[in-house]
Subunit: 459 residues, 2 copies
Amino acid sequence: MAHARAHRGRTVRTLEELIRIPSISAQPARAGDVRRCAGRLAELLCRIGLERVRVVETARHPLVYGEWCRRPGRPTVLVYGHYDVQPVDPLGAWRSPPFEPTRRGDHLYGRGASDNKGQLCAHLAAIEAWLRGAGRLPVNLRFLLDGEEEIGSPSLPDFLRRGRERLASEVVIISDTRMLGRGRPAVTVGLRGLLNLELEVHGPWRDLHAGTFGGAVHNPLQALSELVAGLHDRDGRVVVPGFYDRVRRWSERDRRVLAEAAPGDEAILRQARVAAGWGARGWTLHERTTLRPALTVNGLGGGYQGPGSKSIIPAAASAKLGVRLVPDQRPLEVEQLLRRHLMRATPTTVQATVRAGSRVPPVLFDTAHPAMEAASAACLRGFGARPAFLRSGGTIPAAGMLRRALGAPVVLLGLALPDDGAHAPNERLHLPTLWQGINTLIWFLLEVARLSPATCAPR
Amino acid sequence: MAHARAHRGRTVRTLEELIRIPSISAQPARAGDVRRCAGRLAELLCRIGLERVRVVETARHPLVYGEWCRRPGRPTVLVYGHYDVQPVDPLGAWRSPPFEPTRRGDHLYGRGASDNKGQLCAHLAAIEAWLRGAGRLPVNLRFLLDGEEEIGSPSLPDFLRRGRERLASEVVIISDTRMLGRGRPAVTVGLRGLLNLELEVHGPWRDLHAGTFGGAVHNPLQALSELVAGLHDRDGRVVVPGFYDRVRRWSERDRRVLAEAAPGDEAILRQARVAAGWGARGWTLHERTTLRPALTVNGLGGGYQGPGSKSIIPAAASAKLGVRLVPDQRPLEVEQLLRRHLMRATPTTVQATVRAGSRVPPVLFDTAHPAMEAASAACLRGFGARPAFLRSGGTIPAAGMLRRALGAPVVLLGLALPDDGAHAPNERLHLPTLWQGINTLIWFLLEVARLSPATCAPR
């Protein structure tokens, strides 16, 4: 820990250097930047003392891998993080450019500062502290960095299938989730799944003059609005037939336990800065974002969006839909339900097409596993408080993939604060929380070392 | 006419030169281009022999004016046209760049080729043919070119108010409407009005992570979709209370007369290339675009519209609405009805704002006026056929303004073909129609010369 404290300046400089690389995995034009970021990370992994470091080619963006496996008889920990970032628009809403890391007070601003370059730097610093400070790690360790997390980790399953034995690990740790607040750590034990769909509506063969044709031709933007509006009823319930059929029912006791740790409605409204909540009645806001599935519109566009006006009926319009799934919903099945509903709801005056993107199932982890206790003990040391065991409304595709491929427990020990602004303009990292997080991760490796490999063997 | 035929090459070169100037009035960044286009037109007006030519400053884009008033005792004709053009997106849909005039077969492609640079060049050529071929015009003439037609001619009323006496004219002619087809001329005797509104919906203070907040916060894109979808009922009727109250009722006889000249449903569907029509039942498609008002969505956008996906609940979303009005609807009154409806329909979970753009009342012209007969006779000479007297679903703000300011009849003798693609990508002009149009306009001036000023005196 002394080593980590002494090298804080370098940790920040490393993070700043990574933020400067616009590794947006969703945008083909940024593929070179994603690759550049992977190369730089491989250098960093070598520098801190990891071995067998390599950049692993995939169909799209590379993975970066390194390991240190010189403690036979000790458990092996796999650390997963991602170095790709979300797109940055609306660019005008950023106070400082997204790829120019900027320090304001205790915060470092920039795209990826928190999600996930800042959190992967915490692991880098913790591993370095052991290897450079103590000369060795207390466990065996594998470090796997994904360049496609923000687009659903499409290449990860193939990598895991091919390397299942080489990757054998007893514990997986991922820092890509939120704490409850400063000094209030949390371990996330459930993640929603994700199904991304793009709905396109086509009307006339080209944009038509709105005066000449207005009133006689169905406007694709209007038809799309009708389809999107028709996905929910007035009470915020998704009306797609069968959508809720597989949603697991929770006992009153389960809900009470969850409510004790979870943020209340007021905290959630304060974070979003909205006056009133929305959604299915009979559930708290936290339950609506964790126990219940949600269908959100992430983008919608068509026609003229520039200044002033343009009198057209556009030829087409499209919407990006994201469905957050909960146990025991299945992505492919929900996709089929949605396709069927949308096709039935599309009037004969326009044509609709649906394209699917990510399909990630929801996951729930076993809170009774000894690795969870190791995380709890580490938080007490690093943050001075035991973590809350929380559900998250978000999705980390790798979490379920790693559990399935390795049969190992996955510890989601996130270092992000609720006001970090992941995915939003002015994303930032709270540096004092980073320092506490690094200490926690240093302790975590020691706590896992105390477990015998048998204790946390694949189940 | 011999002069016009001999100078066809120069007419095309002049038009190409004008098309090259991207005079998009709606986009502030193009203000310099609009001004450059005005300057060039002033030079052209001087070159063909008009006098007192000047570029008239306004609050935004200039007007261009020139006249030739050397025939005392003869009627005065005011020719109105516009040199500003519509925006060009979607740029990817253009086969050749919009501001690089391109000849393919009998067509000249480019933004403004038809609307309205091509048609104003027809007037330029007709006036030049008289002044350079015959040495003088058969009438007195004023040529007024607007740089703000596509944004609702906001500066024109003030110019007309200040210059009402200097502009005194017995007949106004505007070529900015459509023919029925090649060799099938039309005089438009009714125009719909226009009310442009921009509806914005605001939700959370910034884009939120769709996983963390999805299901608990009303999504502005969804709320906007609900508001837009809620503007029409299932039968395509606008549900805004009071919207149809002032819509004039037409007798069965009026409708039969209109139907005789108007394109049938099939022709309209063929032009739009859609399989089925849409809109209020009980009206033909042509009636829906002329006798009936229409509310269209010209653009809608919010959230992420780039490649791939971005998991956000956007902070805001907005829609551009265009309402085409018919007699006796009043723009300001309809605006108030829409504002009231939208505010009532906005749920408490989001905030909505409405901004108004153009407000243009609908107009109907008197088909019995002698100037209409002059247009009919000119069409017979120039096109070999008498024109149909048609309603148009479009809006030319200047038409009503000029009639009100000058008390003169307005002849809408348009030279655009239904497949010219005004406002759309690959806008084009059919050159053989241009040549017939120039001849028609040459004849029109002669036909008007035969009227005594008293015949067509202000009424």
